[in-house]
């Protein structure tokens, strides 16, 4: 298992050890700053030696990320962060590989790679910065922009239904999906830590605010004042209770998930669903990912975390088995295999 294979640092590292000498060039107030700071502080907690982290990105505002982290980093091309990271991960299982990319990068130009990476369960941690807009190219709609939104390239409103990241991940047979908001760095850090411990593709969708081109896109659920009533923070093994009075909960009714109030209509805590992130069947995870304000609170935290063999591990196993059983031990063996003759 990758997590257990990676060599740990013998000296305690700090957040500063992961800060590079490059000036951070995101707009002031951009949600990306908090994500960077959180990852830099989580790396020491994960505890690997600094050189065993590798951060890979595509193209977009988010993708400048590797330059700011003092470890190995690869800034790729648009849409291709996941295949590049796959090559890194498969080549060296003793690395902790992190993919940083935005919604345009991963859902549009890189959409196909994203799905196949998840399907293969390559050992990667993907941070998907979802700001529902193209930032670096200055404000065009993305595959996650809500239907009807006016942007530079949709002056009459978009006429495309957006992708739902969580449902896409689960449809691709994803084993780890979590969702966080950029203003809750405590939860973000915990989720990153969980993702690191999970072997295989972990997707963390970060609802990130682009102050310049899509300010407030997530305001309805991110606003601290209203967050307790609008966010359901999931914890494995705990009941799905939320609300500023801690009296709202999610129940599985005959027509799917229902928001109920404990103490009303005879509802008790026993009626409330207990979150099981490790459930093999993704049905309930899908329903949780599909909850949207104002009908539901938005589900945050680790929605699904199910252990499953990784691509990297299966490949290595095949190599070990082949070495044990094949007659071909070196290239000379192949050259001389089959029909040969002397002249």
């Amino acid at each position: 298992m990758s997590y257990s294979m990676i060599e740990r640092s013998t000296v305690p590292l700090t957040k500063e050890d992961f800060a590079s000498d490059q000036m951070v060039r995101w707009c002031p107030g951009c949600g990306s700053h908090a994500i960077l700071a959180t990852l830099q502080s989580i790396f020491p907690r994960i505890g690997y030696k600094r050189e065993n982290f590798c951060v890979v990105s595509g193209i977009g505002c988010a993708s400048r990320f590797p330059y700011y982290v003092n470890t190995f980093g690869f800034h790729g091309i648009h849409g291709r962060a996941t295949p590049i990271a796959t090559g890194v991960s498969v080549s060296n299982r003793k690395l902790s590989v992190w993919v940083i990319a935005g919604d345009g990068d991963l859902m549009a130009i890189g959409g196909n790679h994203f799905l196949h990476t998840i399907r293969r369960n390559v050992d990667l941690n993907i941070l998907l910065f979802n700001n529902q807009i193209y930032g670096l190219t200055k404000g065009q709609y993305s595959p996650t922009t809500p239907f009807g939104q006016v942007t530079k390239t949709s002056p009459y409103g978009t006429i495309e239904k957006p992708f739902d990241v969580g449902k896409l991940v689960l449809a691709a047979q994803g084993n780890f999906y979590a969702r966080v908001v950029d203003n809750n760095t405590k939860l973000m850090g915990d989720v990153m830590y969980e993702a690191a411990k999970h072997d295989g593709t972990s997707v963390i969708e970060i609802l990130q605010n682009c102050v310049i081109f899509n300010d407030g896109a997530h305001k309805a659920i991110a606003d601290r004042a209203t967050a307790p009533d609008r966010q359901l923070i999931l914890k494995h093994g705990e009941p799905m209770i939320f609300g500023k009075d801690n009296n709202k909960g999610i129940r599985l009714g005959s027509r799917g998930l229902e928001v109920v109030t404990i103490g009303e209509n005879g509802i008790t805590e026993k009626d409330i669903l207990v979150h099981d992130a490790q459930q093999q069947d993704a049905g309930l995870h899908n329903m949780l990912a599909d909850m949207h304000w104002p009908d539901y609170p938005i589900a945050l935290g680790v929605i699904r975390s199910v252990p499953s063999p990784t691509y990297d591990e299966l490949l290595e196993k095949q190599m070990i088995d082949a070495k044990a059983t094949s007659n071909i031990k070196c290239v000379d063996d192949i050259l001389n295999s089959g029909d040969t003759w002397e002249i």
């Binding site: 590079s20 490059q22 030696k49 600094r50 050189e51 065993n52 590798c54 890979v56 990105s57 193209i59 590797p66 330059y67 003092n70 470890t71 190995f72 980093g73 690869f74 800034h75 790729g76 091309i77 849409g79 291709r80 295949p83 590049i84 990271a85 796959t86 090559g87 890194v88 991960s89 498969v90 080549s91 060296n92 003793k94 690395l95 196909n112 790679h113 799905l115 196949h116 490949l315 095949q318 190599m319 088995d321 082949a322 070495k323 059983t325 094949s326 071909i328 031990k329 070196c330 290239v331 000379d332 192949i334 050259l335 001389n336 089959g338 029909d339 040969t340 003759w341 002397e342 002249i343």
Partner: protein, 612 residues
């Protein structure tokens, strides 16, 4: 049976083509014939001629499958025209008659020459009766009926019995060319290892064909083909695609860098992916990716992480990889890109061969974006060129494109088996852990090569990417002077590879009237044509190029000593145009063919003759 006396005719080489419906087993028949010939000591070259469709309608021209074999004392091509065509149905005859030499022998399965089949093949009348084949020696053999009868009598069911007809045909050919039956039987037993009964019946059918040939009047002579004059050694038959795969494995073993292949199936390059996927015991990590772009991008990631990374493709796939090749150029990582060229543009002619991707390989990217470009000259040469291309890429930290083509990729020839330990060593410039002086873009003064710093190595943490970087330090930069310097560094680094490739060789005198210039997979035909004219006393020589970017350092010196230079290639003049850019002081005559098929030696001889 009374033994007939046969005239035995000595022939330097013969070309035999087996053609039939794609279910008729022509590939197997051809392979058995060629392998047996090789093991009896002949030199050889083969080429499979598949239909573009997997299973086209039966008995139509679109569904014809063929296998051409050229055997002899010294063989470099699959031969211009066939001395013998074995046609299992009218459609295959129709599609291949143009390739039979006038006066050549055509063996037909007369049982398949029936009205219905003429219709499907597009014949208005029976070609065996309407006089259209009067320039050929026709042997009308009852191939399928005889084969079926024997196979059924030995207990085979009707359907399987019908499929033994190729063995009957092979028996006839084996008799005419005096093939060693013991070797042939052993081959059949090996092929049908899992069902000895099937092997036995096939052998019996083959024997019957052999005896048939011995008994009929239409066959009066047999041929003796002399054995090859080749350097001593251990040999095997090999296709270009397999040789490419093995050359890469050898480079991986010698460099100590595990092989990673990210690829996507595409004709005619797929065999490389298929072959490498078999060799997990040699640390070959092979990913069949979701597309061409993922193929190259996963390889770039693998290269960054320290693998000997390869991506294999054909023309349209190379187009898709263009942007990512630029990324590998910019990050200055080793990466081997194999392009098995096919007929283009667009989807073009996937099963046909040409050399029209050269300018794409040299220039088909945004920005000033140099790659090493090499080309293999024959099926067996793919081994050495794959090895050398990987060596150059690994040692010079830059992507290298190896150009082969469908013709040499799928064609086979004899291959003298080397020892991996005898191949030149490969030493990638790995950075050392905790090297306090390590900087991502610090370069070796002589080669301008940067170091390869692998993730997981202490003290070498650094960032690379597609954005322009500062010289030495590798910080993101749009500084004009720095960009100018980095562009020239990358170009100059590739130019300096010229110090590490062999000088261009010349076949023939190093001065004269005509210098023939060619590159890549056309060597066999061009070599034979030039040799032929040299024997006639013409002052003609050949410079066949395998290193294209950079060109060998002595290229201009060679060119200067000839009155005329003719550049022949299977495209519309791309290498000639490139030479005009690099060495504009010479006049280049072009000879081009862009029909999806190789040159013939005859057409080249005629062309060169007109140039003197």
């Amino acid at each position: 049976m009374t033994k007939k006396k046969f005239e035995v005719i000595e022939k330097e080489s013969v070309v035999v083509k087996f053609v039939g419906d794609c279910g008729d087993g022509m590939q197997l028949t051809g392979t058995l014939f060629s392998d047996t010939s090789a093991m009896s000591g002949n030199d050889l070259s083969t080429f499979p001629d598949y239909p573009a469709e997997i299973r086209a309608p039966r008995n139509t021209v679109a569904g014809v499958s063929g296998y051409q074999v050229h055997i002899g004392r010294e063989v470099r091509t699959i031969g211009d025209k066939c001395d013998m065509l074995v046609a299992m149905n009218p459609a295959s005859l129709k599609a291949n008659l143009q390739w039979v030499a006038l006066g050549g022998t055509i063996i037909v399965d007369v049982d398949a020459f029936v009205d219905k089949a003429f219709d499907k093949a597009g014949y208005a009348s029976n070609p065996l009766e309407d006089g259209s084949l009067s320039s050929y020696h026709i042997i009308q053999a009852p191939i399928s009926s005889q084969a079926k009868e024997i196979a059924i009598s030995l207990g085979m069911d009707i359907k399987d019995a019908d499929r033994t007809k190729n063995m009957y045909a092979l028996g006839i050919v084996a008799f005419i060319y005096d093939r060693d039956l013991k070797i042939l039987f052993k081959q059949i037993n090996d092929k049908f290892k899992k069902s000895p009964k099937v092997a036995e019946i096939n052998i019996e059918v083959l024997k019957a064909g052999y005896i048939y040939a011995e008994s009929i009047e239409a066959i009066e002579s047999r041929f003796h083909i002399p054995t090859a004059v080749l350097p001593k050694g251990k040999y095997r038959n090999i296709s270009g695609n397999i040789a490419t795969a093995w050359g890469l494995l050898a480079a991986s073993e010698r460099s100590g860098r595990p092989l990673f292949l990210g690829s996507y199936p595409i004709t005619p390059a797929t065999d490389i992916l298929v072959e490498l996927a078999r060799h997990k015991s040699l640390n070959a990590r092979v990913m069949q990716c979701e597309d061409e772009i993922a193929g190259i991008c996963s390889s770039i990631g693998a290269s960054y992480a320290g693998s000997m990374a390869v991506t294999s493709t054909s023309g349209p796939g190379l187009s898709l990889k263009s942007e990512a090749i630029g990324l590998a150029v910019m990050t200055e990582l080793p990466l081997v890109i194999i392009n098995v060229q096919r007929g283009g543009p667009s989807t073009g002619m996937p099963t046909k061969s040409e050399q029209a991707d050269l300018l794409q390989a040299l220039y088909g990217r945004n920005g000033s974006c140099p790659c090493i470009v090499t080309a293999a000259s024959s099926p067996s040469d793919c081994f050495e060129m794959a090895y050398n291309t990987a060596k150059l890429s690994l040692e010079h930290m830059t992507p290298a494109i190896l150009m082969t083509d469908g013709y040499i990729g799928q064609g086979t020839e004899l291959f003298r088996i080397p020892k991996v330990a005898d191949m030149p060593s490969i030493t990638p410039p790995l950075a050392k852990a905790k090297d306090p002086n390590y900087k991502p873009y610090r370069r070796d003064e002589k080669t301008l090569v940067r170091q390869w710093a692998l993730p997981g190595t202490e003290g070498l943490e650094h960032r690379v990417g597609g954005l322009e970087k500062t010289d030495i330090f590798g910080a993101v930069s749009t500084d004009p002077i720095n960009h100018d310097k980095m562009v020239s560094n990358r170009n100059e680094k590739v130019q300096r590879v010229a110090d590490y490739i062999p000088e261009q060789d010349i076949i023939g005198e190093d001065s004269g009237d005509v210098l023939v210039v060619s590159w890549g997979g056309t060597r066999g035909q061009v070599y034979d044509a030039v040799k032929n004219l040299q024997k006639q006393g013409k002052k003609i020589s050949l410079a066949h190029f395998k290193y294209i970017m950079p060109l060998p350092k002595n290229t201009a010196d060679i060119f200067a000593k000839f009155k005329k230079i003719v550049v022949c290639e299977l495209n519309d003049g791309q290498f000639a145009n490139y030479l005009r850019i690099v060495h504009p002081q010479f006049n280049y005559i072009k000879y081009n063919k862009i029909k999806g098929i190789p040159f013939t030696t005859t057409e080249l001889i005629n062309t060169f003759n007109q140039i003197f």
